[in-house]
């Protein structure tokens, strides 16, 4: 049986409302704060924030022989929301011809968006995210 610690009385501590800023990568508020920082500071912060907490493992080091097959990645994972391999709006926005700049895409992929997109910062390293951004920029309407 799981033993629970005794609870402090409400007089000592009001019910704890969870705040986005406490939870690391999640949440637009944190992302907005980050984008106002200088690029080197940003890079440092993102590296730190991408480090694992609890049972997470570090993002994979850049594979030397294998490149990330982003097309396959879309069919595996991203295409759930980014329809037609990123070419059409669906659960998520259309990525083909997106006006968003590389920094935005990088932050979004790492941090996600609460209730909209998962955070992939622990899954992909910077080199892999570069590959994903390259794939997005190269998207063309499919033939036929």
């Amino acid at each position: 049986m799981t033993l629970l610690p005794p609870c402090r009385s409400e007089a000592d501590e009001p019910r704890r409302e969870l705040d986005f800023r406490e939870v690391g990568l999640a949440g637009m508020r944190l992302a907005r704060t980050i984008t106002t920082l200088s690029t080197p500071t940003l890079a440092v912060l993102l590296t730190i924030s991408a480090l694992p907490s609890r049972a997470q493992q570090p993002p994979p080091s850049a594979p030397d022989s294998e490149q990330l097959d982003v097309g396959q990645l879309f069919a595996t994972t991203c295409g759930w929301c980014h329809s037609a391999g990123g070419r059409a709006a669906g659960k998520g926005p259309q990525l083909m011809d997106t006006k968003r700049d590389d920094d935005f895409l990088r932050i979004r992929i790492k941090n996600g968006k609460e209730g909209a997109m998962p955070a992939f910062g622990a899954v992909f390293n910077d080199a892999q995210i570069d590959e994903i951004i390259k794939y997005i920029r190269a998207l063309k309407p499919s033939e036929g």
Partner: protein
């Protein structure tokens, strides 16, 4: 970091009078859930018969035009909207919101008696896709049971909301998935099924001791027996998917839990016609996309029917309610599969009939009504699929329940008409550092061959499928259906309107706007002789994600992070 689980009730204010009638009432136990007292809604599906029906008739076809809002509750932080089925026992309403926020409310006034907000692993939640919504709680033995996105099952004291036990069941940090579904309480056991169809896991269903919180049993929907192992070629069971993410029911006569299982992964296979020996997961892939009967005490498999062998279309059996009927001395179990085919079984899961609610359907030509055999199935090789697949991945029906009304003898069920373009690709399951989705295709929603996408409420004979009447909606409603002894059928739609229809004719008798779209539950209960209809509103779940880009209109501005519980009564 050590989790803090603490009760979070309201501090008592001098002079406040909170009448908690549950203190005087009988405990909610299996017998009481089974007898389904008319003033209560003691389990997700209304009773173990899963009718989603209330015998109350104070609100009826004669006076429903006088139905108005009695009170509203706003749970807060409703990311992905509200998807839960409220429960009611002895004048207290219990319901959950996103992040497994759990409330006990005075059923007559809406005043909060207690609330409990578990502290979840939010970094994990940020990495999940089918998250952080919650479909509801279970009641039994003086406790409220709720699952969490980080793989816990928690028991709260019914009167105070204090945590009685908290058991971690899934290594969600590694497997990504947790619990969105409501648990089921029966015979001293709390049963809950994991998410999993889209992920490279094995989709467990758990039986937990209601008193102690100790895990009693675990059934793996992916290759959970030696026989089933043989139906997964090339060790594909290791990343098989599966799960059982909606509550089934309890058959007390057979001491059995009936449960629907989820699809296998990858969702779309490249095997082509020879799926038994080729592709990502050669074989039938037991026990995915099946209905299973487990011994409630041991979790051992007693019988099963695989509704879609080698499911190549993500048409889970997990979505469907198990409607327990009797007709002409025969006992039946009616169970909708996500494809829109409705299976009619005997109590041992032998197929008695199969009928289809979806108009636009081409993933098979048909399903043999006598045997359940798939006829003319479409299995795809890698590459573009020439003719759009119907129905769409959101299903010919979804997990929102239909309602069986024993007075009319009709089953009121929502059907969905939409299709998809599809390009199948070979994928490799990603299991480290954390499990990722394994879909197997690029796809996009498409209109059906008949023209526009639409949804429809059908009044059908549950055994034969004969249609009595139909009401169409421009966008498929995603909320559950409620029917009542007052001869009414309530449908909460996606634009935000709750409709009440005459159960015999389908004539619309009343409607009211709840302010945002519905994708959750609706119940009826009574307090001190007054009948209430309680419905959750709040859009933003999986199927609803497609609505803004597909339909535009009101969906463009509809929030996906808000919701409310709205309760109606006669003025």
């Amino acid at each position: 970091m050590k989790k803090r689980w603490c009760k979070s009730g309201l501090p008592l204010v001098a002079g406040a009078t909170l009448i908690v009638s549950s203190a005087l009432a009988q405990a909610v136990d299996t017998a009481r859930i089974e007898s389904a007292g008319q003033n209560d809604w003691l389990t997700y599906h209304g009773s173990y018969k899963s009718y989603h029906y209330s015998p109350l008739s104070q609100i009826n076809t004669g006076n429903v035009s006088n139905l108005g809002v009695a009170w509203i509750h706003i749970p807060g932080r409703s990311t992905r909207g509200l998807q839960s089925m409220p429960l009611a026992a002895d004048g207290v309403l219990y319901y959950t919101g996103s992040y497994s926020r759990t409330f006990a409310l005075n059923g007559a006034t809406g005043e909060v008696i207690w609330s409990y907000f578990p502290e979840l692993d939010e970094a994990l939640v940020a990495r999940q896709t089918h998250s952080p919504y919650n479909r509801g709680a279970a009641l039994g033995e003086g406790k409220v049971y709720v699952g969490t996105m980080d793989g816990h099952l928690i028991a709260l004291d019914m009167k105070s909301g204090k945590v009685m036990w908290d058991t971690k069941l899934i290594d969600s940090q590694k497997l990504t998935v947790g619990f969105t579904g409501a648990p089921l309480y029966a015979k001293g056991t709390v049963v809950i099924g994991s998410q999993g169809g889209e992920w490279p896991g094995r989709g467990p269903i758990f039986g937990v001791d209601a008193t102690t919180g100790k895990k009693k049993w675990e059934f793996l929907t992916v290759a959970g027996t030696d026989d089933a192992m043989k139906t997964w070629g090339n060790d594909s069971w290791r990343t098989g998917g599966g799960g059982g993410w909606m509550p089934g029911t309890y058959d007390s006569e057979n001491n059995t839990i009936l449960w629907g299982t989820a699809n296998p992964a990858p969702l779309y296979d490249w095997s082509g016609a020879d799926y038994k020996t080729q592709g990502a997961r050669p074989g039938d892939n037991l026990y995915t996309t099946s209905v299973i009967a487990l011994d409630v005490d041991t979790g051992k498999l007693k019988s099963y029917h695989q509704e879609l062998p080698h499911d190549a279309w993500d048409f889970d059996s997990a979505v469907g309610e198990f409607v327990m009927l009797e007709r002409d001395g025969q006992k039946y179990v009616v169970h909708p599969n996500k494809s829109g085919y409705i299976f009619v079984y005997d109590r041992n899961l032998g197929v008695k009939n199969v009928w289809r609610i979806t108009q636009n359907s081409n993933f098979v030509k048909d399903i043999d009504p006598k045997t359940g055999e798939l006829i003319g199935r479409r299995d795809f090789p890698a590459g573009k699929v020439s003719e759009p697949l119907c129905p769409h991945i959101s299903g010919g029906v979804s997990w929102n329940a239909g309602s069986y009304n024993p007075k009319t003898g009709l089953y009121y069920k929502l059907g969905q008409e939409w299709c998809m373009t599809l390009e199948v690709q070979k994928t490799t399951p990603i299991v480290a550092p954390q499990a990722q989705l394994n879909i197997g295709a690029d796809f996009k929603i498409a209109p059906p061959p008949s023209g526009e996408i639409y949804g429809h409420l059908d009044a059908r004979d549950p055994i034969t499928g004969a249609k009595k009447w139909e009401v169409r909606f421009p966008e498929p409603p995603l909320g559950s259906v409620l029917s009542t002894g007052g001869n009414l059928v309530f449908v909460p739609d996606s634009r935000g309107t709750v409709h009440a229809y005459d159960a015999d004719s389908g004539a619309e008798l009343w409607s009211h706007g709840d302010g945002t779209g519905h994708q959750g539950g609706i119940i009826s209960y009574a307090v001190n002789g007054k009948q209430y209809i309680a419905v959750v509103a709040g859009f933003g779940g999986m199927a609803s994600d497609d609505y803004a880009p597909t339909f535009g209109g009101v969906y463009k501005s509809m929030p996906r992070d808000d919701g409310a519980l709205v309760v109606y009564s006669l003025k």
